[in-house]
């Protein structure tokens, strides 16, 4: 309870003292090292088959799963029968107690199916509009597969876990008379080892003695000195038509710039925000749809009278630059005092398939002067040695991995989580994020239901290490347009 009298006459509710303007505060900085894990080559082919992703994922994660399974089940005797390990799914024999590792495949009638598309001659796949693949009436079935074959999993043990297509599990049980595998127990790869702090950006250890301070901020004790922070926003959705939350965006800008609030807050809190991470959906497309429709209407009228000026079938008059201009202005205001990391999201002008590549600098005529300069005269990114210094305004991939002040951070625009969300009944998004860490896979549902690049040599979605904090954006549960706070997960 705060009363009016308490606040009146305090701080800024006074006459200007007439003294000199206060000193400008110095914003703190954090060490920052982005990783190029999800960067694709510019000249990437799309001819390959997607099957390789599953194969690579299984080969990479299976050892970990089997190690966990061996530790848990080796020597277990159930009903006088010893549990045996079976190499392949096809080797499971009826009535024998055994365990086997493989990839989960969820067979769901509501799930979009590529086979169905092909058989019905639909070659242009629209983004699915289904909210849930989960039907809840028992039509769904869970299969375990590897390169040899597939077996249907049944049993109550399955109810206790989140499971989606693409995650690697080990199951113990027996095959029943129906040819189904009765699951008694089920194991994931669990969390991979966490990297040492400062494992990437070495040499900075000495100058920042803030290990303690960092912990202080994580536990949020007000008594300890405030430490460096990062701000995470998503879903800014700068829009042309919908200005209902323009004020919120303004307030956010003032907050981040440190112009709002009183001097003590500015000093203790705002100046400690060292970096802004924008996790997707910065530009709203909803407005574009309506204007586009309108533009087409007028263009058909116009067509009768004058030739349409079309280039490559693209009608330039239907393009609405205002949302991106607003976003550019926002960044340009902010960049002089704060570095920004920008991840693309589902709505942003980047490629639709995972991993999304950085938004092109041409989208930011003003702010791009803060980016690292483009490589001159090289067509391929792969040949170029990494830029020694990341740009002050760093446009990165989605998902994105990096090290901030020594802590490993994994950020996504949220599409992977949204897609996992459709598989399961639960609303527990944080739990799903945790599950993804335990599956050791950032985007397990790619390429089944999450559009993805057909990786050939490597499967970057497999996490080799657990991020100190992982963030995933664009959760609809935040009724407000932005959500903040890394859901820090520690695994000790």
């Amino acid at each position: 309870m705060v009363t009016l009298d308490e606040v009146l006459g305090s701080g800024l509710l006074q006459k200007p003292s007439g003294h000199d303007a206060p000193e400008a505060l110095q914003r703190q900085i954090t060490n920052y090292k982005p990783l190029q894990t999800f960067k694709l080559e510019k000249t990437r082919p799309y001819q390959q088959q997607y099957a390789d992703i599953y194969f690579l994922r299984l080969t990479k994660i299976r050892p970990a799963v089997e190690a966990a399974a061996r530790a848990a089940w080796e020597g277990t005797v159930l009903g006088g029968e010893k549990v045996k390990r079976v190499e392949r799914v096809l080797d499971v024999r009826q009535g024998e107690l055994c365990w086997v590792a493989g990839t989960v495949y969820m067979d769901m009638p509501l799930k979009p199916s590529i086979l169905e598309d092909v058989s019905k001659d639909r070659w242009i796949s629209a983004p699915t509009s289904i909210g849930h693949y989960y039907s809840g009436n028992g039509d769904d079935s869970i299969m375990l597969e590897d390169d040899s074959g597939r077996i249907r999993l049944v049993g109550n043990a399955l109810q206790d876990h989140f499971m989606v297509t693409g995650c690697i599990v080990a199951v113990m049980g027996t095959e029943n008379t129906n040819g189904e595998f009765e699951v008694i127990d089920l194991l994931f790869a669990e969390l991979p080892p966490q990297p040492e702090r400062w494992s990437l950006s070495k040499g900075k250890k000495e100058e920042s003695e803030d290990v303690e301070m960092m912990d202080a901020s994580f536990s949020g004790h007000p008594s300890k000195p405030p430490s460096k922070k990062i701000a995470i926003v998503s879903g800014l959705e700068f829009s042309n038509a919908d200005t209902s939350y323009a004020m919120e965006l303004n307030l956010l800008l003032e907050y981040l710039l440190g112009e709002a609030l009183d001097p003590s807050t500015q000093r203790d809190e705002l100046s400690h925000i060292t970096r802004l991470i924008i996790a997707g959906n910065s530009i709203s497309t909803t407005a574009n749809e309506t204007t586009k429709a309108a533009a087409y209407d007028t263009s058909t009228l116009k067509n009768k009278f004058q030739p349409q000026h079309k280039k490559y079938g693209y009608d330039s008059s239907s393009y609405n630059p205002i949302p991106s201009q607003l976003f550019d202005n926002f960044l340009f205001e902010l960049l002089p005092t704060m570095p920004v990391t920008l991840l693309p999201g589902a709505l942003d002008p980047a490629n639709a398939s995972y991993p999304q590549q950085p938004i092109h600098p041409a989208m930011f005529p003003q702010s791009r002067t803060y980016m690292s300069p483009p490589k001159v005269g090289v067509g391929k990114d792969g040949d170029v040695p990494e830029a020694e210094e990341p740009g002050w305004f760093d446009n990165v991939t989605n998902p994105w991995e990096g090290e901030i002040e020594g802590w490993r951070v994994l950020g996504t625009g949220g599409q992977n989580l949204d897609d996992v969300f459709k598989y399961v009944e639960s609303e527990d998004r944080l739990g799903m994020m945790e599950a993804m860490c335990r599956w050791r896979c950032v985007a397990p549902t790619a390429p089944d239901t999450l559009w993805s690049y057909p990786f050939q040599e490597d499967e970057p979605f497999v996490t080799k290490i657990v991020p100190t904090s992982s963030l995933s954006a664009a959760s609809p549960s935040s009724a407000r347009k932005w959500s903040r706070g890394p859901m820090a997960k520690r695994s000790d």
Partner: protein
């Protein structure tokens, strides 16, 4: 310090505007915190003078009471900014700070919902109770519209001394980026300024096809002989005076090309040959009448080149199955596309090019120094495409012999068989018929 009162009286009372602390801070160039106090002071004095004449909006920042109170006030804007918490045990105890805009008449009510208020200040004042957020948005936009003055930068609350912009490389890059298209159409107009012409003292012009490789090795060695040449030829005939001052902008950079026709008059015998050789080099395969604007003053030529460029762009865009376009899409690095975006600034860039000279000595009436020139570099990429890159490089010059390469060229001329020189002589005054000379050379 009192001028804020007149400003506020003017804007709020007379013009019926909403003034936020940011607008005030930017308009009067005072620190935002001081501006907040000014607003408060003005609001207080006005209210005592005449209650109801101004209305304030407050910005609150603090922790709300744990029971989430959903009040129907549209003015309330929540900015949940919970501190990150690692310990899952006290997840629920994470303080959630709320940032809210509150009208002054509701301030007492709203404050009651707060456990603690860590910060409160006047956000804006207006002539009416602020019902509509759009008024505040407008005020915010007009605050943003006030640009920074270079002389008197607005006070910032938080600065970051580590900010990095790609200034040095960026500006050079921009110039380089602005140039290519200009030069693509102009490449034939001013080929003499490209690197290949310079290292040509030894080989005869027939060696032209081999040149691209030579220059691809490096652009800097090419400047070295030149510097030497410039040093060696300090005191040539002062036939070229400051009349080049009329030649501005791009022409300054291309001054070699510009001066050539003049040279042709003074020493008609030698230069034409030198002028011809680059024509052989430029194998871009387009019409050569671009040579015509060459002798004209820079202003018109730059305008013309701009027009040409636009023309070319339009042609490119309209032609669907043009192979050029495919080439463009395949080979070029992104920077080649950039000029299209910043077309409006291209002109300014061109004008700026004039300043890209660093004069080191101005003794005995002569200026000597370095200037920036565009060099063309052709390399073969790994797919077998020839990629032409424009690079900016520094080249030393001295005022009196504006074409620094003039001396080497003279030598070239002397070493060139008289027949070639004679042919060149014929070609030069016309300024056209280059295609014929191109063929006749072989």
């Amino acid at each position: 310090m009192e001028d804020y009162k007149t400003y506020l009286v003017e804007n709020v009372l007379s013009d019926d505007k909403v003034v936020t602390y940011r607008l005030l801070s930017r308009a009067l160039r005072v620190h935002p915190n001081v501006a907040k106090q000014m607003l408060h002071d003005f609001h207080k004095t006005q209210s005592t003078k005449k209650p109801g004449s101004v209305y304030a909006t407050y910005l609150l920042y603090g922790i709300k009471k744990s029971i989430h109170h959903q009040n129907g006030n549209a003015m309330d804007i929540d900015l949940p900014s919970s501190l990150p918490d690692a310990d899952p045990v006290d997840d629920d105890d994470v303080p959630s700070y709320t940032l809210a805009l509150v009208q002054e008449d509701r301030l007492a009510d709203v404050l009651r919902d707060y456990e603690t208020v860590s910060s409160i200040h006047v956000y804006s004042i207006g002539p009416h109770p602020a019902k509509d957020l759009t008024l505040l948005v407008d005020a915010a936009q007009s605050a943003l519209a006030i640009k920074d003055d270079v002389k008197k930068p607005r006070p910032r609350t938080i600065v970051n001394s580590h900010v990095r912009r790609r200034e040095i490389r960026g500006s050079g890059f921009k110039a380089a980026a602005a140039a290519p298209i200009k030069q693509e159409s102009k490449a034939k107009a001013a080929p003499t300024k490209t690197a290949p012409a310079k290292p040509s003292p030894a080989p005869a012009p027939a060696a032209a096809p081999a040149k691209p490789k030579e220059e691809s090795k490096s652009a800097t060695p090419a400047t070295e002989p030149e510097a030497q040449a410039a040093a060696a030829t300090k005191k040539p005939a002062p036939s070229l005076k400051r009349n080049t001052s009329a030649v501005s902008g791009i022409m300054q950079a291309f001054s070699k090309a510009a001066s050539l026709p003049k040279k042709a008059k003074t020493s008609a015998k030698s230069t034409p040959a030198a002028e011809d050789t680059p024509v052989v080099l430029s194998d871009d395969g387009e019409d050569d009448d671009d040579d015509v604007p060459l002798p004209k003053p820079g202003a018109t030529s730059s305008r013309k080149s701009r027009k040409e460029r636009e023309e070319e762009l339009r042609r490119m865009m309209e032609d669907d199955e043009d192979e050029d376009m495919e080439d463009k899409a395949d080979s070029p690095a992104p920077e080649e596309e950039e000029p299209v975006v910043e077309e409006p600034s291209a002109k300014a860039e061109a004008a700026k090019e004039e300043d890209k000279e660093i004069v080191t000595t101005t003794g005995d009436g002569r200026r000597r120094g370095k200037r920036r020139v565009m060099k063309k570099k052709q390399i073969m990429d790994d797919q077998g495409y020839l990629v032409t890159i424009q690079e900016s490089a520094w080249e030393s010059f001295s005022e009196d012999e504006a074409p620094p390469a003039s001396k080497p060229k003279l030598k070239v001329a002397s070493s060139v068989p008289p027949a070639a020189a004679g042919k060149g002589k014929k070609a030069a005054p016309k300024g056209q018929g280059n295609i014929m000379s191109f063929f006749s050379k072989k």
